[in-house]
């Protein structure tokens, strides 16, 4: 096969918006988290657990982790697109990245709902 330059996948806008939206979610959550920690001043595991037993904090923390992983997916995929030139290796690294991040998301949920 002739190695032609292939562009025109017609995506990118959605990821670009999501990367910005998730950045805002992470920034807002960071403020909420710091305020809550300052207010509660958790000095024991039970107090720490109490923070995440709260429904709103569970929701916000879950949203934060989903944002982190989606944001990381776009960022790391961009790095692979820039630096990993062999197509097969790039695809493999993208799949591995997605698999690790999905695994992390599941792990985060498990930890969060155990609290």
């Amino acid at each position: 096969m002739v190695n032609r330059i292939l562009v025109g996948a017609h995506y990118g806008l959605k990821d670009w918006i999501i990367q910005r939206a998730t950045a805002i979610i992470m920034a807002v959550y960071t403020v909420i988290f710091l305020v809550v920690i300052a207010a509660v001043g958790p000095d024991s595991f039970d107090a720490w657990r109490g923070i995440f037993a709260n429904g709103f904090m569970k929701f916000a923390t879950f949203l934060f982790f989903v944002s982190v992983f989606y944001h990381a997916w776009i960022g790391i995929r961009d790095i692979w697109m820039d630096y990993i030139k062999p197509d097969a290796l790039r695809l493999l690294m993208m799949i591995a990245t997605a698999a690790v991040l999905v695994g992390y998301a599941g792990w985060a949920v498990q930890i969060l709902w155990r609290m």
Binding site: I5, H10, G12, L13, D15
Partner: protein, 237 residues
């Protein structure tokens, strides 16, 4: 007469003679009453050693021929004041493009990207008797876009262009793309946006603004790219 000696370090490479590029140390007698711009010095050097190769034409920042890397920053030799330059003045070819000889680079890839955005008005409507009119406001939008001289200072200072010169349009091409997207006389807005909505062609830009930093015409490709993205968002929601 305010004369003094200036030190230069110039990238030299003649593929017919040299095995590898090297930096040549040169000192030049400069007459500050006559020599104002870096191109004046290069002209003096060329008179002494005519093997030194660089592109030049208009010598007044219009043709965009004498773009080079000056003390680590891309710029036009003809617009660079010698008084402001730290010595030794290090001159290298534009980064990221293949070197043909000395300070001359092969711009094929750069112009391929420029041509890929269809840099001409597309309008299938009936030809008007005299001209296609614009309101002053519509015309105002083209300011800061049409002035691009395609010197390649911006694209060759962009890491995204270094890594993917074959796939990423680059700041110069994208600035020109927006010049036609913004033009009310052009009818191919949707096709142009479709063409750029691509992870490589447009979205390799991460807004680090190297392009804005180096543009010798003080244009702002990052803002133009931002406007393209904004139009895509408005189209999508």
């Amino acid at each position: 007469m305010a004369t003094s000696t200036m030190q230069f370090k110039i990238y030299r490479y003649d593929p017919d003679k040299d095995n590898a590029p090297y930096m040549q140390d040169i000192s030049v007698e400069v007459d500050f009453a006559l020599d104002r711009k870096l191109l004046d010095i290069l002209t003096r050097l060329k008179a002494k050693d005519d093997t030194l190769s660089y592109r030049r034409s208009c010598r007044e920042g219009i043709c965009g021929s004498d773009a080079m890397n000056i003390n680590g920053k891309n710029g036009l030799a003809c617009l660079t004041d010698i008084k402001d330059l730290k010595q030794p003045v290090v001159l290298r070819p534009l980064p990221g493009l293949p070197v043909i000889r000395d300070l001359i680079v092969d711009m094929t890839q750069f112009f391929k990207q420029y041509h890929s955005i269809k840099p001409y008005l597309i309008n299938e409507g009936p030809r008007p008797d005299r001209e296609r009119l614009q309101s002053p406001d519509e015309r105002e939008e083209l300011n800061g876009l049409y002035e691009c001289i395609l010197c390649a200072c911006c694209s060759t200072s962009c890491p995204s262009f270094w890594w993917n010169p074959d796939k990423f349009v680059g700041p110069a091409g994208l600035l020109n793309a927006y010049r036609f997207i913004a033009d009310t006389r052009d009818q191919a807005t949707n096709e142009r946006l479709d063409d750029l909505e691509d992870p490589y062609r447009l979205f390799r830009c991460h807004s680090i603004m190297n392009c804005v930093d180096v543009c010798p015409k003080n244009l702002n490709p990052t803002r133009a790219i931002g406007k393209i993205k904004e139009m895509m968002v408005r189209r999508a929601i």
